[in-house]
């Protein structure tokens, strides 16, 4: 930088140079990449160390860039600083003959010359590192909730506060969960690698499941902060995209999951009105659905059709595709949706899926058949505190003009709902049902 040091000598004010702009979420994204690469160097047992070094590098960027000088290649800058911090750390560990087995071991095998060190940071390797990290975070030895939390922390660069806000849990509880997850990984002495051979399919399933949960966490219309929630959906799509772009993850099931996410995300913004009120599918403005995402989703759905396996993701993506391609609510292919639900329920006996299926049955065979289908839901006791069970029953009774029963069910749903938008929605419905009843 040729102007360095002479800022006081300038006669006039500094010219207005082209200051590079930071792409959105650059810090978060780079954090995820670099944590993964540093973990390759320091070993999975030192995950916390890698996270700390990245935090340090980002703080350095914050301090230096706040004075009007953002480098031309901000991502490269952060990576370089993290690299230097890592190298310092390795030299220090070397010097003090650290007891950390993994670092000492690494040092024995690799000379600490800069060229060797640089080769650890090749773009291709960095991509593989993120996949290695995905498989590590979503290792079956961790509970699904821990998998999602750890993925968000290490690969997506979210802070404990941000994750806890999205999950509506306390920071302390989430922090504890992460500490335990890292500890489990350390104790299991897991290798930092992409699984191969027979090990791959179950491990890939585990990753896909975690990504699915991550997406759902963002998608479900719950309170929380809507911006954070949208970010969760976007991150799930980004990570699934990384997976699908890699030979190991490029499988029909991964495409199906990605299709499902894209087709759902396309409708994300239309689910509430300007005041934040919940809008039903039939009330949504279909012209506002994101046609780009729908096109991408349909493309991945086509790619998902390779092979014989029909996974749960295939079926759910198929259902989403029916909605996305229908011109309006009435012309939706409900028969096809019902047949997809029939297949889905054969794989997954979840009472929530059964409830959704009952709604479709009502659409095809009428409200009476829908109510009968709800009554037949196995394990119904599992959803007896779920407000949607009563909201669905209320809606079906209202369609039969039985407003007395409808009102009773809406009242029950209202008692069980937990978020403001849900309560507003149900109160609105209850009011109109009660009005009809009075007539």
């Amino acid at each position: 930088m040729k102007n360095e040091g002479d800022i006081f000598l300038k006669n006039g004010a500094a010219p207005n140079p082209e200051v590079p702009r930071l792409v959105e979420h650059l810090f978060r994204r780079e954090a995820g990449k670099i944590v993964a690469t540093l973990t390759r160097i320091f070993g999975l047992g030192n995950l916390q160390l890698a996270e700390d070094l990245v935090q340090e590098a980002l703080l350095r960027a914050l301090q230096v860039w706040s004075y009007g000088e953002i480098p031309r290649n901000p991502a490269g800058w952060i990576m370089q600083v993290a690299k230097n911090l890592a190298l310092d750390q390795l030299r220090r560990e070397h010097h003090f003959k650290s007891k950390e087995r993994s670092i000492a071991g690494w040092l024995e095998h690799k000379a600490l010359d800069a060229a060797r060190f640089d080769s650890l940071f090749l773009e291709r390797e960095i991509q593989d590192d993120q996949l290695r990290m995905m498989f590590a975070c979503c290792h079956p030895l961790l509970s699904p909730e821990s998998q999602v939390a750890l993925t968000l922390k290490t690969l997506c660069g979210f802070s404990v506060t941000e994750i806890s806000r999205a999950f509506l849990t306390s920071e302390a509880a989430l922090a504890k969960k992460l500490v335990r997850a890292r500890q489990k990984i350390r104790e299991a002495d897991l290798p930092f690698e992409i699984p191969a051979g027979d090990e791959l399919p179950p491990r890939l399933d585990s990753v896909l499941h975690a990504l699915y949960l991550l997406f759902n966490e963002g998608y479900k219309a719950s309170d929380g902060e809507s911006l954070v929630r949208e970010e969760l959906c976007r991150e799930a799509i980004r990570l699934t995209g990384l997976l699908v772009a890699h030979p190991v993850g490029n499988q029909p099931k991964t495409h199906a999951l990605l299709a499902l996410m894209l087709l759902a995300a396309a409708r994300l913004s239309t689910r509430v009105d300007a005041e934040g009120n919940i809008l039903l599918l039939k009330e949504q403005d279909r012209s506002a659905w994101d046609s780009g995402l729908i096109a991408q989703g349909l493309l991945h759905l086509t790619q998902a059709a390779a092979g014989d396996e029909v996974s749960e993701f295939h079926l759910q993506a198929g259902i989403a595709a029916c909605h996305c391609t229908a011109a309006d609510y009435q012309s939706t292919d409900w028969n096809r949706i019902l047949s997809l639900y029939d297949q889905l329920i054969a794989i997954n006996h979840s009472p929530v899926i059964a409830l959704n299926r009952a709604v479709v049955i009502a659409q095809v065979h009428g409200p009476q058949a829908g109510i009968a289908s709800v009554a037949r839901i196995s394990q119904q006791e599992k959803i007896k505190s779920y407000y949607l069970l009563y909201a669905v029953l209320a809606e079906l009774h209202a369609q039969l003009n039985d407003y007395s029963a409808a009102s009773a069910h809406y009242r029950r749903a209202l008692e069980l709902s937990t978020t403001e938008p849900e309560r507003n929605f149900l109160a609105r419905k209850l009011q109109s049902s009660a009005d009809q009843h009075a007539v």
Binding site: G12, A14, L22, Q63, S66, I70, G157
Partner: protein, 125 residues
């Protein structure tokens, strides 16, 4: 816009601000963005002369002929100067207005405004 004859230089000294722990990457990026916008504003008005962050630790040289060289300065972190910006504006009022927009104020830090002493300029504001 300021003209050379009436312009006056000020140094803005920043103390405290960013705390290390528990800031998320996203928050850090937001802060960089706020600073960038703040400085862009000064640039577009031709007021920005330059600025730099400072490392928190250094050496203090004291005593006759610098007999005493110690690490430091040791003080509370909110007292440590973390950086500075130099601006050229019409008067003190304008400098204060610029300082009021500094993102550090929302991060628990402070801005100290010090006019550069010159024999030619008088700040009557």
């Amino acid at each position: 816009m300021t003209n050379e004859s009436s312009a006056k230089d000020f140094i803005l000294l920043f103390r405290g601000g960013v705390s290390r722990k528990d800031m998320s990457p996203e928050q850090m990026q937001q802060i960089v963005k706020q600073y960038t916008e703040w400085i862009d504003g000064q640039r577009s008005r031709g007021q920005f002369l330059g600025g730099k962050p400072l490392e928190e630790e250094g050496q203090v040289v004291a005593g006759k002929n610098g007999q005493m060289v110690t690490d430091g300065p040791f003080m509370e972190s909110k007292e440590i100067i973390v950086g500075f910006v130099m601006i050229r504006v019409a008067d003190r009022t304008e400098a204060v207005e610029i300082a009021k927009g500094c993102p550090i104020l929302n991060l628990g830090g402070t801005v100290e405004i010090r006019p550069v002493l010159t024999s030619l300029h008088h700040d009557s504001a």
